[in-house]
């Protein structure tokens, strides 16, 4: 980075500029529903311990793999644990990992990508480092991190994020490569805007639309990868319910007890659908050219 923004006003402007909505923008009913769904899922997950009927860890070997019943609304898993309690509790860790991985990789990738895309000199070096990072398998990294740090959420998030960052970087950079040739960037240079300001205020908004797509994808895939990692022994303990875990554990029982995959899968899909809808709305709101009449 060459310089920090020249005054506190520009920092202020970054915030207001980025998040103020174009005049007349209104939010439709779809995104409202999405927000409500998301809120419900988040609350349901966070508050799960208060209302789920069973301890999600307590087992009963004699009632394994039971179909849904009065006692177990969604049936039980191969350990005889209550699926409903596990699915509802599972959201806590899953959402944390999904959102954590998405936010971290997008944030880090965005910064690096902006710099790589804009400064020709930096591009080569940064992108070659990214190429190298991309090649490190998440599993290996996770195993190493767990060995160093012990198993923890942050190890998992880092292990998922590190290979994801270069992909975000490439995406951001590609958008910036085109956008930096726009005359309004020249105009900003001519107006004496500092490099950070040009990067953040002029170029960054161009990356939002693709980043929203990439971000939701990372969020979903992190939740699924988490399960793979934990089954390869590098994630959170398999005992602790997460949507990914529950699905991965249900994998072999796919043909005889699809509910083990269906319910956590449904929760995950709902979340992703909601995040997607919100993302789309955010992107439409941030792009004045997309301003739409109420539909």
């Amino acid at each position: 980075m060459t310089e920090i923004p020249t005054s506190r006003h520009s920092a202020f402007q970054v915030l207001t500029g980025l998040f103020s909505l174009p005049a007349g923008a209104r939010i439709g009913i779809g995104p409202m529903i999405a927000a409500v769904i998301l809120l419900i899922i988040v609350l349901a997950s966070v508050l799960a311990p208060l209302y789920v009927p069973y301890n999600p860890l307590s087992m009963d070997a004699l009632s394994r793999l039971k179909p849904p019943s009065e006692a177990h609304w969604l049936g039980t898993d191969p350990y005889g644990r209550d699926t409903f309690s596990r699915v509802m509790t599972g959201g806590r860790v899953s959402l944390l990992i999904g959102v954590g991985a998405a936010v971290v990789s997008v944030a880090v990738g965005l910064m690096i990508g902006l710099v790589a895309g804009f400064f020709r000199a930096a591009d080569g070096v940064i992108m070659r480092i990214m190429d190298s990072l991309m090649a490190i398998p998440a599993i290996l990294l996770a195993i190493a991190l767990v060995a160093l740090n012990g198993p923890s959420l942050s190890s998992v998030i880092i292990a998922i994020t590190v290979p994801e960052v270069p992909r975000v970087v490439r995406l951001v950079r590609s958008v910036v490569l085109s956008a930096r040739e726009e005359p309004y960037v020249e105009a900003a240079i001519a107006l004496g805007s500092s490099m950070p300001k040009i990067l953040i205020q002029h170029l960054m908004p161009n990356t939002f639309a693709p980043l929203i797509v990439q971000g939701t994808y990372i969020c979903a895939s992190a939740i699924l990868i988490e399960a793979i990692l934990s089954f390869l022994g590098a994630g959170v303990s398999t005992e602790i319910p997460t949507w990914g875990n529950i699905m991965a554990e249900g994998r072999t029982y796919f043909q005889i007890k699809p509910g083990l995959i269906f319910w956590p899968g449904l929760m995950l899909s709902l979340c992703i659908l909601a995040i997607n809808l919100l993302g789309d709305t955010a992107r439409d709101l941030l792009d004045p050219r997309m301003k739409k009449r109420e539909g």
Partner: protein, 561 residues
């Protein structure tokens, strides 16, 4: 002065517009953008649409093409009839069949109107591929031929070029070629010659006239250049605030305008007679350009192609408070020079010193403090405004960069908006919600807000109607007086050049062919090119402000004609 005076009442009516009303989408109660427009154009007729910038000229033409941005503007009433086909609410497929063959349009801003990632040749050729059965080779030949006809130089190179590799005028001619190539029945030309030097402009106008002769094309010609209107119009409509306020045959309009607005407009047309040079300033030069060379590197996959020598050995200096005009052929390197001295591109050779410092070799970062001294109004204002930013934010960007507080910058911005004759509420709007001329004014306001030592204005007033243009030129004059701003003024409009330049520099093919005080150069041109240029100035036989012919045509000293 000769006016066209053919009577078209018997000709086939090509376009009929009745009570056309266009308003903001979904807001039928807001003030309409077009308010009950009536318009008729007959085969072979040239109908000129003039009027205030932002009065709805472009919107009218887009409505006819069926290309209104449907998220923002919609037809709220009235009727558009093209040769008996009612197209107001026509299906897309119907419109598609009509376009290019029957109606073609030249868009106002060629930079944004051309696809940045397709070669311009292909973009023209596409029209042929879509609407004719010509073979690949024939289509290419037609295309190259058309490019020659619009007087593009070096057509083989330009055919292969991408829009960003062309000069403003070259792009505009690509647009023109695209629209003319199929001899449409109705041609809508939205300020097609703003970026063209007068000689080229003359040739283009002739080309259109020939087509009208040959094919009976009806032409709707939107322009601010009264000289052009005087030369080519059969009838003229004057627009103001979304209405057509006056319609008349050209002679009647020029000699006997009815409406106040029309009179005001005509009276604002500047004179071709150069202003008296201001007293030579004694202060140090604001900018010194020495031996500036710029060659655009040719890419080429394996071997480097030769590249385009866009500027060669350009030298000049400007003192505070004075204006240097650059006129010349389209594609002669004017914008290149401007961009070089702004250090937006790196000159291949030469020296540029600003405020005593050599900046041609400074790095981007080292340059940053000097940015305050130099400002530019780009030739394509639309693209130079961030589409995601409100006008207010764009206007405040520069001052805030150099330490002005946000509130102060906002106040200043509001003030400037008034000075360039834009409503205050425009501050909260986005660039795409403005007309071409309005955007140009925003760009000017943005540059002026910086109170630079040197203002580079590249075709800065070309999209403005003459009354607003006069106002903006006054504004520039004002700040020049007040702050001693030096100005580099690139223009094709010799009237404007005559109005405000102290010195003029004439460029052709990258070279400076003539350089001297404005009255010298304009009234006593020494170089042949300068002379042809001045002779080609449209409407120089008419004294618009006084509604009559020139008493004394400003003869060129030593001219043979």
């Amino acid at each position: 002065m000769e006016f066209k005076s053919k009577d078209f009442t018997d000709s086939r009516r090509v376009l009929k517009i009745r009570k056309l009303k266009v308003g903001l989408t979904g807001r039928p109660n807001a003030a309409p953008v077009l308010n009950e427009i009536d318009l008729d154009i007959r085969a072979g007729e040239t109908h000129c649409l003039v009027g205030e910038s932002g009065s709805g000229k472009s919107v009218t033409s887009l409505a006819v093409m069926g290309l209104l941005p449907k998220d923002a503007l919609e037809i709220q009433g009235g009727l558009i009839d093209l040769e008996g086909v009612e197209i107001t609410y026509a299906k897309p497929s119907v419109m598609r069949a009509l376009r290019a063959r029957r109606i073609a349009m030249i868009f106002q801003e060629p930079m944004t109107a051309l696809n940045p990632v397709l070669r311009v040749g292909e973009q023209i050729e596409e029209v042929l591929n879509m609407h004719t059965d010509l073979s690949q080779a024939e289509a290419k030949k037609r295309t190259l031929d058309m490019m020659e006809q619009v007087h593009l130089p070096d057509v083989d190179r330009i055919y292969q070029a991408f829009p960003h590799q062309l000069s403003g005028g070259q792009r505009q001619r690509i647009m023109i070629a695209m629209a003319l190539i199929l001899d449409p029945d109705l041609l809508i030309a939205d300020e097609p010659t703003t970026a063209l030097d007068v000689t080229t402009q003359l040739q283009i106008l002739r080309l259109i006239a020939e087509m009208q002769e040959r094919h009976g094309t009806a032409v709707l010609f939107i322009t601010h250049d009264m000289g052009v209107v005087a030369e080519i119009a059969d009838t003229v409509s004057v627009m103001q605030k979304g209405r057509i306020v006056e319609r008349a045959p050209i002679r009647d309009l020029l000699t006997n305008p009815q409406e106040d607005y029309t009179k005001k407009l005509l009276m604002a047309v500047p004179n071709l007679a150069p202003r008296a040079a201001r007293a030579p300033a004694t202060a140090k030069d604001v900018i010194i350009v020495k031996g500036l060379d710029m060659t655009y590197g040719g890419g080429g996959f394996l071997r480097r192609s030769e590249g385009v020598k866009a500027a060669r050995d350009v030298n000049f200096t400007i003192k505070p408070g004075r204006t240097l005009g650059i006129v010349g052929e389209s594609g002669s390197g004017k914008s290149t020079v401007a961009r070089c001295i702004m250090r937006l591109i790196d000159p291949t050779a030469g020296k540029v010193s600003v405020a005593g410092t050599e900046i041609a070799q400074l790095s981007r970062r080292q340059l940053q403090p000097y940015r305050k001294h130099l400002q530019i109004v780009f030739q394509d204002p639309y693209r130079s405004l961030n589409p995601r930013w409100t006008v207010a934010r764009s206007l405040c960007e520069g001052p805030i960069n150099f330490g002005t507080s946000k509130e102060e910058a906002m106040d200043k911005a509001a003030e400037l908006m008034e000075l360039v004759d834009l409503p205050r509420d425009a501050l909260d709007r986005y660039p795409h919600q403005f007309s071409g001329g309005q955007r140009q004014r925003i760009a000017i306001a943005r540059a002026v807000a910086m109170k630079p030592d040197l203002l580079v204005a590249d075709e800065a007033v070309s999209a403005l109607d003459v009354s607003v243009q006069a106002q903006v030129l006054d504004l520039l004059d004002d700040i020049q007086d007040k702050f001693g701003v030096a100005m580099l003024f690139i223009t094709h409009d010799l009237r404007v050049a005559a109005q405000i330049c102290d010195e003029v520099l004439v460029m052709q093919k990258g070279l400076v062919v003539e350089h001297g005080p404005a009255d010298e150069v304009l009234s006593n041109p020494r170089h042949d090119y300068t002379r042809t240029l001045i002779e080609a100035a449209p409407g120089r036989h008419w004294d618009f402000a006084n509604f009559r012919a020139m008493e004394r045509v400003p003869a060129l000293k030593g001219a043979t004609a």
